[in-house]
């Protein structure tokens, strides 16, 4: 699997927020086997608190995917992306343009506009979007080479609220990497996304807020592998009725 020409082996991307401590974060990253972690940019204090965190991140050896979390306008997102590119020395940007402060749902109009501006400027955009096919097409036209549809609202842990829409995306964009971003709560949610042919999942709260983050990170990693292998093994069709799995032919007659 490739994201913008970079070969990626782990199909689990992990966020770095809300962990009880930096040590727990490091442990969770390690046990998840992830190769890509998301980070953010926030106001620095004069004591340089961000520098320490940056050191921790580098020690994980993971590729950094900076985000524009919390940006509500195109200009905010574009400026943040530029700052992230300089700071993390990467053209990758997880583009969020938030449209509603309660649902944190993407402003897809602003998203497409920001994606166009950033793609033209050499960024490799990972757009956090809805599961809308038309928006997906516009994002690809704007220069995105992959899409990150939501499973459910950010941090909700509700799992896949609209699996039919995600299946439609998979069918409509067979060659575009699709990463389910947001809403995954349990390993079964991650497995479900992977079973339907999604290329990867990005999650954060489900691991960070688990009682044992490192344990959950490992469980998620296994769920992602199981779901993917299940997809590749071509699952059977569902049937409405029971069909005996043991041959009926050759049964003894005892009566």
């Amino acid at each position: 699997m490739q994201f913008y020409g970079i070969e990626i082996n782990s199909r689990l991307l992990l966020g770095t927020a809300q962990y009880p401590s930096p040590a727990v974060l490091t442990e969770a990253v390690k046990s998840s086997g992830t190769e890509i972690i998301t980070v953010s940019l926030r106001r620095e204090t004069a004591d340089g608190s961000g520098a320490g965190f940056w050191e921790n991140l580098r020690e994980t050896g993971c590729r950094i995917l900076p985000n524009t979390a919390g940006c509500h306008s195109v200009q905010e997102a574009v400026t943040t992306a530029h700052m992230a590119r300089e700071l993390f020395d990467t053209p990758w940007i997880k583009l969020e343009v938030i449209g509603h402060s309660d649902t944190l749902q993407p402003d897809v109009f602003g998203l497409v506009e920001a994606a166009r501006i950033l793609s033209a400027d050499g960024f490799q955009v990972f757009p956090y979007t809805t599961d809308d096919l038309v928006v997906g097409e516009k994002l690809l036209e704007a220069g995105c080479e992959l899409l990150m549809p939501w499973g459910a609202p950010i941090g909700s842990g509700q799992g896949l609220r609209n699996p039919d829409a995600l299946r439609a995306m998979r069918a409509h964009f067979p060659d575009v990497p699709l990463i389910v971003d947001a809403g995954i709560g349990r390993p079964s949610d991650a497995a479900q996304a992977m079973e339907m042919g999604m290329d990867a999942v990005l999650l954060n709260t489900a691991v960070a807020k688990a009682g044992d983050p490192a344990g959950m990170a490992h469980a998620m990693a296994m769920a992602v592998v199981a779901g993917r292998e299940g997809y590749e093994a071509d699952p059977m069709e569902r049937r409405d009725m029971a069909v005996p799995s043991t041959p009926v032919l050759g049964m003894a007659e005892f009566a």
Partner: protein, 65 residues
């Protein structure tokens, strides 16, 4: 001159962005800057002149999802 740094007013003597950052103690290489909403690259900080009331954002890597 008075400028707004990360939403708080500060008095700075330096005329350039570079000088103001040093003065304010932002000496870590792990910061990125924006002036009045527009990104200012590291290499441009010594060229950018500050004006009274400028809004400066100094950002650093933080936890994110």
């Amino acid at each position: 001159m008075k400028i707004i740094v990360n939403a708080k007013p500060h008095e700075v003597a330096g005329a350039t962005l570079e000088a103001a950052l040093n003065e304010l103690g932002f000496t870590s290489p792990a910061v990125a800057t924006a002036l009045n909403g527009a990104f200012v690259a590291r290499g441009k900080r010594s060229d950018v002149q500050l004006a009274e009331g400028d809004r400066l954002e100094v950002l650093a890597p933080m936890q994110g999802g």
